[in-house]
C-alpha cells in the first residue's frame, strides 16, 4: 500500500466476491516467474554436477572430442542460464513485465533439455550397455528433477522434458534392442504423467500465489481501515474536545455576561438563567427555574400583550431584537428592558428552547431624556436673552429712535454682529447635537435647484457685500430637481457661500454653478481665495475645524458649518467635497441624486 486513502470512497473495502478476482493475474504470473528464477540456480548447479559425472564416466579415447564438445555445450547452456538469472535479479522493473522474463527462461529451459537430449542422442550409440543404463537413468533423473524446478509454469517443464525426451526417444527407437524399444514406448507415458503432474503443480502454485495476494490485499485493506478508524477516532476526540471547550466558553459567556440571559421553553417557562439575571431581577436561579416568565418579570398590565407576542414568536420561530418592555424587579421597582429573543430551532423546525437576553436600558433612557431636556432648555434659555439683546440692538440700529453718533452707531453694530454670531453658534451646536443623536428629521420634497440657488444668492447678497464680494450665478443653469429638504439645502448653501465670501479677496467674485452629471446633480461654489492649506485639507469637515485659530476672530464662524453641511448632505444621500479651482481659489461642491418623478 503506497498511500492511505483520504476520501471515504477509497476506503470502502471490496466485496468478498471481488477479493479473488482482485488478485491480479499478472502479479500471479510475476510470482510464478520469480519462483522459476529463484529455483534456477539449484537446477543449474545440479545440471553441472550431473554433467561432470557424465564426462567422467563416458570419457574414453575414441569419444574424447564428442564428450568435450558436449561438455562445452552443457557449460555454455549453464553459463547462459546463470547470466539470465543474474540479469533477472538485477532488473528492478521485472515485475511489470513477467512475460518477457518467462520467454527468456523458457528458452533457457528448452536449451537445458535439448542439451541433455543431445547427450543421449550422441553418446547412446557408442557406449556400453552398462553405460546406456547409466545414461538412461541420468536422463530420467534430470526429467524428474526438472519437475519441482520448472513446474511453477507447467509448459516450461513440458518444453524442458520434451527437449530431453524427444532426441532420447529417437535414439532408443533407431539403435536400441527390443528392450530399449519397449523402454521407448514407456517413456511417453512417463512424460505425460510428468507433464500432468507439472500442470497440477502449476495450478497449486497459482492458487497459492492468488491466496497470498488476496491475503496481502486483505491485510492492506485491514491496515487501511485501521488507519482510517484511528484517524476518525482522533477527529472525533478532537471534535469532542472542541464541543467541550465551546460549551465551557458558552457557559462562561453566559455566566460573565453583564446582560441578563434566560433560556425559556416553548411555553415561556424558565429553564435556566445567568447571574446577571439574578442580579437585575432579584431572584435566584433556583427560584426562577420552572416559573413562567410573565408571572414575575412583567407588570400585570402587559401580561396579555407579552403572552400574545410570545406565542406569535414561537409560531414564527424567528429571532426578534430590540423589544422594549416595562419590567418589574422583585422589590417592585420598574425597569425598562430591551429584549432579544432567539429560538433554538431543531432541524425538524421545532422550537426546542428560546434564548432571551434583556438589557436594562432604564438609565440609558433617563440619560437620553435628560440630554434632550437639557438641549431644549439650553436652546430656550439662551435664545430668550439673545432675543432681547439682538432685538434691542436692531431697533437701535434701525434708526427709528433717532440718529446715533458715529462712534455709538459703530459700537452698536459691533454688538449686534457679535450677538448674531453667538446665535449662530447656538444654532450650529444644536444642529450638530440633533444630527448626531439622530433627532434631526429631514422634510424632503422635490426641489427645483435653479430657483433654490437664486434664493440662496439673494439671501446671502448682503453678507457678501460686507466683504465687498459679488455673488454670480452662472447663466445657463440646467432645470434639474432633487429630493431634499429646502431649509437644509439653503443652510448648506448659506454656509458655502458665506465661507467663499469670507475667504475671497475684496472686489472678487464668488461664482455658483449647477451641473447635470447624469444620475446626480452637482452644485459648486467657487471662490478666488488663497486656497486651503495642505495640513488643513483632511480635517476641513471635522467639528470645530478652522484653518487658523485666528480665523475665528477675523472671519467669524463657529468651525461647525462644514461639519454640519457634510452630515446634512450625506443624510440626503449625497456627498460633499472640495477641489482646487483652476486659476486659483477653491471649489466647494455637493452632489445629490437627481429626482425622478417615477
Amino acid at each position: 500500500m503506497s498511500a492511505i486513502p483520504t476520501t471515504p470512497s477509497d476506503a470502502v473495502p471490496q466485496a468478498p466476491g471481488a477479493l479473488h478476482d482482485a488478485s491480479d493475474a499478472r502479479r500471479v504470473l510475476a510470482d510464478q516467474v520469480e519462483l522459476l528464477y529463484r529455483q534456477a540456480p539449484i537446477g543449474i548447479g545440479g545440471a553441472l554436477l550431473v554433467a561432470s559425472l557424465i564426462v567422467y564416466e563416458l570419457y574414453a579415447p575414441h569419444s574424447r572430442e564428442l564428450v568435450i564438445f558436449w561438455a562445452c555445450i552443457a557449460l555454455l547452456v549453464a553459463a547462459s542460464r546463470f547470466m539470465l538469472v543474474r540479469a533477472y535479479s538485477r532488473d528492478a522493473a521485472r515485475e511489470p513485465d513477467p512475460e518477457r522474463w518467462l520467454r527468456w527462461f523458457s528458452i533457457g529451459a528448452l536449451a537445458e533439455g535439448v542439451s541433455w537430449g543431445f547427450a543421449a542422442a550422441v553418446f547412446f550409440p557408442s557406449i556400453s550397455d552398462e553405460q546406456r543404463v547409466f545414461l538412461a537413468f541420468v536422463l530420467a533423473t534430470m526429467t524428474a528433477g526438472g519437475l519441482p524446478l520448472f513446474s511453477a509454469v507447467w509448459w516450461v517443464f513440458a518444453l524442458f522434458a520434451f527437449g530431453v525426451i524427444v532426441p532420447f526417444e529417437a535414439v532408443l527407437f533407431t539403435y536400441g534392442t527390443r528392450l530399449f524399444s519397449e523402454l521407448a514406448l514407456m517413456i511417453p507415458i512417463l512424460l505425460t504423467i510428468n507433464v500432468a503432474v507439472a500442470y497440477r503443480l502449476n495450478q497449486v502454485f497459482v492458487s497459492g500465489f492468488r491466496l497470498r495476494q488476496s491475503y496481502g490485499r486483505l491485510t492492506q485493506d485491514y491496515t487501511t481501515l485501521n488507519l482510517q478508524l484511528e484517524q476518525r477516532l482522533a477527529e472525533l476526540e478532537e471534535a469532542g474536545r472542541q464541543v467541550e471547550t465551546s460549551g465551557r466558553k458558552l457557559a462562561l459567556f453566559a455566566e460573565r455576561s453583564p446582560i441578563p440571559i434566560f433560556e425559556f421553553d416553548w411555553n415561556g417557562v424558565v429553564l435556566t438563567a445567568n447571574p446577571a439575571a439574578e442580579n437585575l431581577f432579584g431572584y435566584s436561579v433556583a427560584e426562577m427555574i420552572g416559573k413562567k416568565g410573565t408571572d414575575f418579570l412583567f407588570p400585570v398590565e402587559v401580561h396579555a400583550d407579552v403572552l400574545a407576542k410570545w406565542s406569535g414568536f414561537m409560531r414564527a420561530g424567528k429571532p426578534v431584537v430590540a423589544l422594549r418592555y416595562h419590567n418589574v424587579r422583585r422589590d417592585g421597582v420598574e425597569l425598562v428592558c430591551e429584549w432579544s429573543i432567539t429560538p433554538l430551532v431543531s432541524p425538524a423546525n421545532r422550537v426546542q428552547s428560546v434564548i432571551v437576553q434583556g438589557r436594562d436600558i432604564t438609565q440609558q433612557l433617563e440619560a437620553e431624556r435628560m440630554k434632550q431636556e437639557f438641549t431644549s432648555t439650553l436652546s430656550h434659555e439662551l435664545r430668550t436673552p439673545l432675543t432681547s439683546i439682538l432685538g434691542s440692538l436692531q431697533l437701535i440700529n434701525s434708526g427709528v429712535f433717532g440718529e446715533l453718533g458715529n462712534d455709538v452707531a459703530e459700537l452698536a453694530q459691533v454688538a449686534e454682529r457679535n450677538g448674531q454670531r453667538l446665535l449662530d453658534l447656538i444654532n450650529d451646536l444644536l444642529d450638530i447635537e440633533r444630527i448626531e443623536s439622530g433627532k434631526l428629521t429631514l422634510f424632503s420634497e422635490p426641489l427645483a435647484l435653479r430657483t433654490l440657488l437664486q434664493e440662496a444668492v439673494n439671501l446671502n447678497k448682503a453678507f457678501a457685500e460686507r466683504f465687498n464680494v459679488r455673488l454670480e450665478l452662472s447663466a445657463d443653469l440646467p432645470d434639474v430637481r432633487v429630493n431634499a429638504d429646502v431649509k437644509r439645502i439653503l443652510q448648506v448653501m448659506t454656509n458655502l457661500i458665506s465661507n467663499a465670501a469670507k475667504f475671497s479677496p475684496a472686489g472678487g467674485a464668488v461664482t455658483i454653478e449647477l451641473h447635470d452629471l447624469g444620475g446626480e446633480v452637482r452644485v459648486a461654489v467657487n471662490d478666488r481665495g488663497t486656497g486651503i492649506p495642505e495640513n488643513f485639507r483632511n480635517r476641513i469637515f471635522a467639528r470645530f475645524a478652522q484653518a487658523d485659530a485666528t480665523d475665528t476672530r477675523q472671519k467669524g464662524g463657529t468651525g461647525l458649518g462644514l461639519a454640519i453641511c457634510k452630515r446634512l448632505i450625506e443624510m440626503m444621500g449625497g456627498r460633499i467635497g472640495f477641489a482646487d479651482r483652476q486659476g486659483g481659489g477653491t471649489m466647494f461642491f455637493f452632489e445629490l441624486p437627481k429626482y425622478r418623478a417615477d
Binding site: S376, S379, H380, R383, T384, P385, L386, T387, S388, L390, G391, S392, Q394, L395, S398, V400, F401, L423, T441, F443, K487
Partner: protein, 129 residues
C-alpha cells in the same frame, strides 16, 4: 384675505424685555395698537376685553404653555376665531408642523428681527382666508 389692515394685536409673553421689544417694534415701526399680557392665565380675559384682530403667543410660559392656551382659546366661542401666531424659540420643523396641525396661522422663531416683525405679521395676516 381680511378686508382691513392689521391693527390690534395682543401678545402673551412672560419675559418683560421681549415684551418691550415686540411692543416697540409693532407700535413704532408697525404703527399698530398692542396689548401685552404677562400671565397666560389672564390671557383669555384680556382677549375678551381687548378684542384683538390677532393674538401672538409664546410657547414656554410659567403656569400654562402656549399650545395649551391656544387649545383653550379654541374651546371658547369669543376667542375661537381669532388667528394665532406663535413666536417661539422652539421653532424647529417638528414643532412648526405641530403648531400648524393645531391650527396656528403662523410661527415666528426667536430671535426675530424687530425691524421685520411688523411685515412678517402683516404677510401672515394677509394670507388668512
Amino acid at each position: 384675505m381680511p378686508s382691513t389692515p392689521l391693527n390690534r394685536v395682543l401678545y402673551v409673553e412672560d419675559d418683560e424685555d421681549v415684551q418691550r421689544i415686540v411692543r416697540l417694534s409693532l407700535e413704532r415701526i408697525g404703527k399698530m395698537t398692542v396689548r401685552v399680557v404677562s400671565d397666560p392665565l389672564q390671557a383669555i380675559e384680556a382677549i375678551r376685553q381687548f378684542g384683538p384682530e390677532l393674538v401672538m403667543l409664546d410657547w414656554m410660559m410659567p403656569g400654562m404653555d402656549g399650545p395649551t392656551l391656544f387649545r383653550k382659546m379654541r374651546e371658547l366661542p369669543e376667542t375661537r376665531d381669532c388667528p394665532v401666531v406663535f413666536i417661539t424659540a422652539r421653532a424647529q420643523q417638528r414643532e412648526t408642523a405641530e403648531l400648524a396641525a393645531l391650527g396656528a396661522a403662523g410661527v415666528i422663531s426667536k430671535p426675530f428681527s424687530p425691524k421685520d416683525l411688523p411685515d412678517q405679521l402683516r404677510s401672515i395676516w394677509s394670507a388668512l382666508p
